[in-house]
């Protein structure tokens, strides 16, 4: 990869939020450097809090990905898992750590493995609002009756939200519209010859696989490739 202006422009095109954030910080720093420094300090404290849980979240997901079979997930969270699936979803959500955006990758993995859309929404919502460890904090600050009544209303509400969303959105839509697939690189890597010959200009087949998965290179960049057709089909189903 050459570091030129094009590379930077492409990075910001791929990461619009990052571009917006940097822009916002530049404005604030020009206006008042002190405010900017305070914001960075606050960001750092959130970041450290995230670092406590994120690596563990991703490791658990990786292990689920290789060990838990599709059939198992489908049995627990799939279509037709019924009321048991609903409550399993509430439970798994409420015993998880971290804010809702830590739940997105986990739910995406479960979805690919066979969970239904409605149960994904229930897990997401429960993950966000029905936090078992937070019960104590909520009671402490808002009182026992506030906590109890809120939960009695919230649990049926999130199950309803899940069911309605599952009716409106099909699973095929979600899979088709998702641009996150950590497995894609793995699968492409397996299909590449694995000689690390360097004819494509990258140091290893793995790097090439990452470039192809991101859409930055075409599969035919690999000179000795035999599985071009399979890779193209893979890219098509995942994009």
């Amino acid at each position: 990869m050459k570091f030129r202006l094009e590379t930077i422009v492409k990075f910001f095109k791929d990461n619009k939020i990052a571009a917006f954030t940097i822009f916002a910080y530049v404005v604030v720093f020009v206006y008042s450097p002190n405010l900017g420094i305070d914001s960075l300090k606050m960001t750092a404290s959130y970041f450290l809090e995230m670092l406590e849980i994120l690596p563990a979240v991703f490791i658990v997901m990786g292990m689920v990905e290789v060990w838990v079979s599709r059939e198992t997930i489908m049995g627990i969270f799939g279509k037709g898992s019924g009321i048991k699936g609903r409550f399993a979803s509430v439970l798994i959500g409420s015993f998880s750590a971290g804010p809702i955006y830590a739940a997105f990758p986990v739910c995406f993995t479960l979805l690919k493995k066979g969970s239904s859309v409605s149960n994904i929404v229930i897990i997401l919502s429960a993950w966000a609002v029905v936090k078992a460890p937070m019960l104590i904090v909520e009671t402490q600050f808002m009182g026992l009756s506030f906590m109890l009544v809120r939960y009695i209303f919230t649990v049926p509400a999130i199950i309803m939200i899940g069911i309605i969303t599952g009716k409106i959105i099909s699973k095929e839509y979600v899979i088709k519209n998702s641009s996150k697939d950590g497995l894609l690189v793995e699968r492409i890597d397996e299909l590449l010859p694995g000689h690390n010959c360097g004819a494509c200009g990258y140091g290893s087949c793995r790097e090439t696989a990452e470039q192809i998965a991101d859409g930055d290179e075409e599969p035919d960049v690999c000179v000795p490739l035999e599985e071009e057709k399979t890779i193209r089909e893979l890219l098509e189903t995942c994009s």
Binding site: S39, Y46, L54, I59, V66, W67, A97, M142
Partner: protein, 160 residues
């Protein structure tokens, strides 16, 4: 570090050890999946955290408090729900904040709306949600959650 974080880390480590003893290759593959997913989302998470840091510095809790000063319960509920939607504060901070707002005269109903939208509806996190699940899914889920938050809090108002 709170108890869920510790529990999660213990879970991850025990899973890893168990996995390694059973099948080394599978474990490495799983770790690669984890690494790729993490790489795919790292820039976004850092950007979002930076935005939250900026937002909370520019709009400190005191300002939120003054906005919720003297309005009717219904009005305050909608304003609180909207505030909860655009902000993203860890729940550990949200409960003390809500409780201090109640002390200063905010209604319990509006605080229930605030806490519920705060955690369940994510305006700032929507770009990440779209990346994973698509636009329509994100829109439907967030709109339904917002409506549910209003209904939950109004329902609570009838009982409390």
């Amino acid at each position: 570090m709170n108890i869920t974080a510790i529990g999660l880390i213990i879970l991850a480590i025990s899973l890893l050890i168990w996995s390694f003893t059973k099948d080394k290759e599978k474990t490495i593959k799983g770790l690669n999946v984890a690494k790729n997913m993490f790489k795919g989302i790292a820039v976004e998470i850092i950007s979002i955290l930076a935005l939250i840091g900026l937002f909370l510095t520019l709009v400190p809790p005191g300002t939120i408090r003054s906005v919720l000063g003297d309005t009717s319960v219904i009005e305050a509920t909608f304003i609180s729900a909207a505030f909860g939607t655009i902000t993203l504060i860890p729940a550990f901070v949200a409960f003390p904040l809500a409780s201090s707002l109640v002390d200063e005269g905010a209604h319990l109903v509006s605080m229930a709306a605030f806490i519920t939208t705060l955690t369940m509806v994510g305006f700032i996190t929507a770009p990440i949600e779209i990346e994973y699940f698509g636009k329509k899914f994100t829109l439907v889920r967030n709109v339904l959650s917002f409506l549910a938050a209003i209904l939950i809090s109004l329902g609570m108002g009838l009982i409390l």
